[in-house]
C-alpha cells in the first residue's frame, strides 16, 4: 500500500483530490485536518515521515491565463520524506484569499519554522500557532508580498531610512 493510499483510506473524508503526476504522489486535503494528517504521517510506523523536506505555497490567481478557475487562490505545498522507508509524499492544502491562514506545523517538525516564515513573507499567508511569524528574506517595512501573482515583478518599493 503506497503512502497515498494509506492516507486516503484513513482520511477519506478530508481528502479533496489525489494525483500521481510523473510519479509524485499528491493529496489535496482540507485545511482543518492538516494537523491530524501531519501527526498521522509522522507517527505511523509504516509511514514514518520524519523529514518535512520542503514547504512552500503557490498562488493560482489567473492560473493558465484565467482559463482554469481554482476554488481557492492559494495552495500550501508540503513535501514529506521518510528516511526509513525512502518514500515521499506531497500534501497540498487550499487556502482562501480572504482569510489566508492555516495551522502551523512547527510543533511537529523544526524545519517548519523558517519555511512558514518564508511563506508568510512571500505570500502573506499566516500560520496559526507559529512562535515567531515575521518576515525572513524581506525587511519588515516591505509593502506587499512579493510572490503573489498580483505583485508586479518590477514594482518599486519606497525607500526606508531612519525614522525622523
Amino acid at each position: 500500500m503506497t503512502p497515498l493510499q494509506r492516507v486516503q483510506e484513513k482520511f477519506s473524508q478530508d481528502v479533496i483530490e489525489t494525483h500521481a503526476f510523473r510519479g509524485d504522489e499528491t493529496l489535496l486535503i482540507r485545511p482543518a485536518s492538516l494537523q491530524t494528517v501531519a501527526k498521522f504521517l509522522k507517527e505511523t510506523a509504516e509511514l514514518d515521515f520524519n523529514f518535512l523536506m520542503d514547504l512552500t505555497a503557490v498562488d493560482y490567481l489567473f492560473y493558465a491565463g484565467g482559463r482554469v478557475q481554482k476554488e481557492f487562490r492559494f495552495e500550501i505545498v508540503y513535501h514529506f520524506f521518510s528516511l526509513k522507508h525512502n518514500h515521499r509524499l506531497r500534501i497540498k492544502v487550499p487556502v482562501d484569499e480572504k482569510n489566508p491562514e492555516v495551522d502551523s506545523l512547527t510543533g511537529l517538525w523544526a524545519s517548519a519554522d523558517w519555511y512558514e516564515r518564508e511563506v508568510w513573507d512571500m505570500f502573506g499567508i499566516r500560520f496559526k500557532g507559529h512562535p515567531n511569524l515575521k518576515r525572513i528574506l524581506m525587511y519588515e517595512e516591505f509593502e506587499g508580498h512579493a510572490l503573489r501573482k498580483d505583485y508586479q515583478f518590477n514594482k518599486r518599493q519606497p525607500l526606508i531610512g531612519p525614522k525622523t
Partner: protein, 441 residues
C-alpha cells in the same frame, strides 16, 4: 551591594571579515559563552523565484547559475531534470554521463572551497592556498567544456550545450591526480594539527534527531551518522551504475563535517574516473574531417540563401558551442523536437530547421510542459537540492521553487552555537558552508 550581571548583545555582520556571505547574527553573550543567537538572512535576495516566473523555461538557466555559485553545474542539472520530469522525456546516455562528470567536479570544488575557507579562518592560510590551487585545476576543466568558470549555463533541457573536447579524459585524469596530491597535503597539514583539531572537535555539535527535525541533508546530516544521500536513496541520471560509498561521521561536530567532506571528495573523484570508463563514445569535439566550413561563413551564406552543401560539410565552431552542430547534436541532446533546438546546419540550411528554432526561441512559443507539477531532488554539494516546478501548460513556469540545502542548516545554526564560546562561531560557520546565493535566492 550585590553584583548585578546581565548578558551582552553582540552584533556580527552583515559584513564581517569572518563571514563569507552576508548574514547578520545577533548574539547574546554571557562573558564569552553564547547564550542565544538570532539569525537574520535575506541580504542577498534577488527574487530568483519571481524572476523565473517571468521568463521562458530555457531562460531560467542563467538564474540557476547564481544560486550556489560555488557549484553552479549542479543547480543547472537539478533544474533541467525537473523540467524533463515535467515533460516526461529522457536524454541520451552520453549526456547523462557528462552531467554526472560535471556535477561531481563541481562538488569537489565546493568542498575544497568550504574546507579551505574554514582552515584559513583558523589561521591555516597554506591549506587555503593549496585548496584554491586544486580548485583552479578543476575550474580549468569546467572552463574547457563550458567556456566559463562560474556562470556556466551549460546544461540544456534535454541535454547539454557542448560535448567533451578531444583528450578531455586524459587532462581530467591529470588534474584528478593533482587534486589528490593536494588532498593528501591538506590532510597532513590539518588532520593531526593540534590547533585545528582542538578548534573543531566537539564544537558546533548537533544531534541526529535535531538535524532530522530541521530537515537538514547533505554532509551536515551525514556527519551526525545518518547515511542519507540522494544519489543512493533516489538515484538519478546514472548514479546507480557507479560504485561509491557514503561517508558518515558519528558526533555531528565540525571535525566530523571536515572528515565527511574530505572523504566525499575522494568518492567524487572515483566517480569521475568510473564515468570516463563507462561513457559511451560520441563524436569528440576537435576532430573535424571532410569539408570544413567556419560558422561565420555558414551564417553569411545562409543570409543570401546559398544553403546548398550545408549538410555535407562540417561546421567549425568553438568547442564550447559545438553541441549545436549536426555532428555532435544527437549524441548529447534528446530527440524531442519540441524541446531541443535543432542543429545549426538545419537552422541555417532548411526551412524546417528554421521554423523549429523559431518555435523554441520566440516569445510566446518555447517549451510547453503539460499542466502539472513535479519535484525533483538532486544531491547538491550542501545537501538535497530540490526544484519544485508548477506548469500551467504555457511557455513560462507558473511557479519555480528551490529547496535550498543551506536554508534548514542556517535555521539550525542557533542549536549548533548555543553553549559554545564566541570564537567557535568562526569554525562552525565555516563548516556549515553557507552560500548566500542559494540561501536567499
Amino acid at each position: 551591594m550585590a553584583t548585578q550581571t546581565r548578558s551582552m548583545l553582540l552584533n556580527v555582520g552583515p559584513s564581517h571579515p569572518a563571514m563569507h556571505g552576508v548574514i547578520r547574527l545577533i548574539m547574546e553573550l554571557d562573558g564569552e559563552k553564547i547564550k542565544g543567537v538570532d539569525v537574520e538572512i535575506g541580504y542577498l535576495h534577488r527574487a530568483f523565484e519571481k524572476m523565473c516566473e517571468t521568463v521562458m523555461y530555457t531562460q531560467c538557466f542563467p538564474y540557476t547559475d547564481r544560486l550556489n555559485y560555488v557549484s553552479p553545474l549542479i543547480n543547472n542539472v537539478g533544474f533541467a531534470l525537473t523540467v524533463e520530469k515535467l515533460l516526461g522525456i529522457d536524454i541520451p546516455e552520453r549526456a547523462k554521463y557528462i552531467r554526472v562528470i560535471m556535477s561531481e567536479i563541481s562538488r569537489v570544488t565546493d568542498h575544497l572551497t568550504c574546507i579551505g575557507a574554514t582552515a584559513m579562518e583558523l589561521g591555516a592560510m597554506t591549506v587555503f592556498l593549496y585548496m584554491i590551487k586544486a580548485r583552479e585545476y578543476l575550474y580549468e576543466l569546467v572552463e574547457e567544456i563550458t567556456g566559463a568558470r562560474l556562470t556556466i549555463s551549460y546544461v540544456r533541457i534535454g541535454g547539454v550545450k557542448a560535448d567533451l573536447t578531444e583528450g578531455f579524459a586524459d587532462r581530467a585524469f591529470q588534474k584528478i591526480a593533482e587534486v589528490r596530491k593536494v588532498l593528501i597535503e591538506a590532510d597532513e597539514l590539518l588532520t593531526r594539527n593540534r590547533i585545528f583539531f582542538d578548534r573543531m572537535k566537539n564544537v558546533g555539535v548537533i544531534s541526529k534527531e535535531d538535524a532530522i527535525s530541521h530537515g537538514i541533508t547533505g554532509p551536515f546530516l551525514r556527519s551526525t551518522g545518518v547515511a542519507y544521500d540522494v544519489r543512493k536513496a533516489n538515484p538519478y541520471l546514472i548514479y546507480e551504475r557507479l560504485d561509491f560509498e557514503v561517508p558518515t561521521g558519528t558526533t555531528g561536530d565540525n571535525l566530523d563535517r571536515y572528515f565527511v567532506r574530505m572523504a566525499e571528495m575522494e568518492q567524487s573523484l572515483r566517480m569521475i574516473e568510473q564515468c570516463f570508463q563507462q561513457i559511451p563514445d560520441g563524436a569528440i569535439s576537435g576532430e573535424l574531417t571532410g569539408d570544413i566550413m567556419p560558422a561565420a561563413e555558414m551564417v553569411d551564406r545562409a543570409k543570401m540563401g546559398k544553403t546548398q552543401g550545408f549538410m555535407a560539410s562540417e561546421v567549425d565552431l568553438d568547442p564550447t558551442l559545438q553541441g549545436g552542430t549536426e555532428k555532435f547534436h544527437d549524441a548529447i541532446n534528446a530527440t524531442n523536437k519540441d524541446v531541443v533546438l535543432p542543429a545549426k546546419e538545419n537552422t541555417y540550411g532548411n526551412i524546417e530547421g528554421l521554423m523549429n528554432h523559431f518555435k523554441l526561441v520566440m516569445y510566446g512559443h518555447g517549451i510547453h510542459p503539460p499542466m502539472g507539477e513535479a519535484y525533483f531532488p538532486t544531491e547538491g554539494a550542501n545537501g538535497e537540492l530540490g526544484f519544485y516546478i508548477v506548469s500551467d501548460g504555457r511557455d513560462h513556469p507558473w511557479r519555480v521553487r528551490v529547496h535550498p540545502p543551506c536554508f534548514p542548516i542556517m535555521a539550525a545554526l542557533p542549536k549548533c552555537l548555543i553553549g559554545d564560546v564566541m570564537a567557535d562561531l568562526v569554525p562552525t560557520f565555516g563548516s556549515i558552508n553557507m552560500i548566500a546565493g542559494e540561501l536567499d535566492r
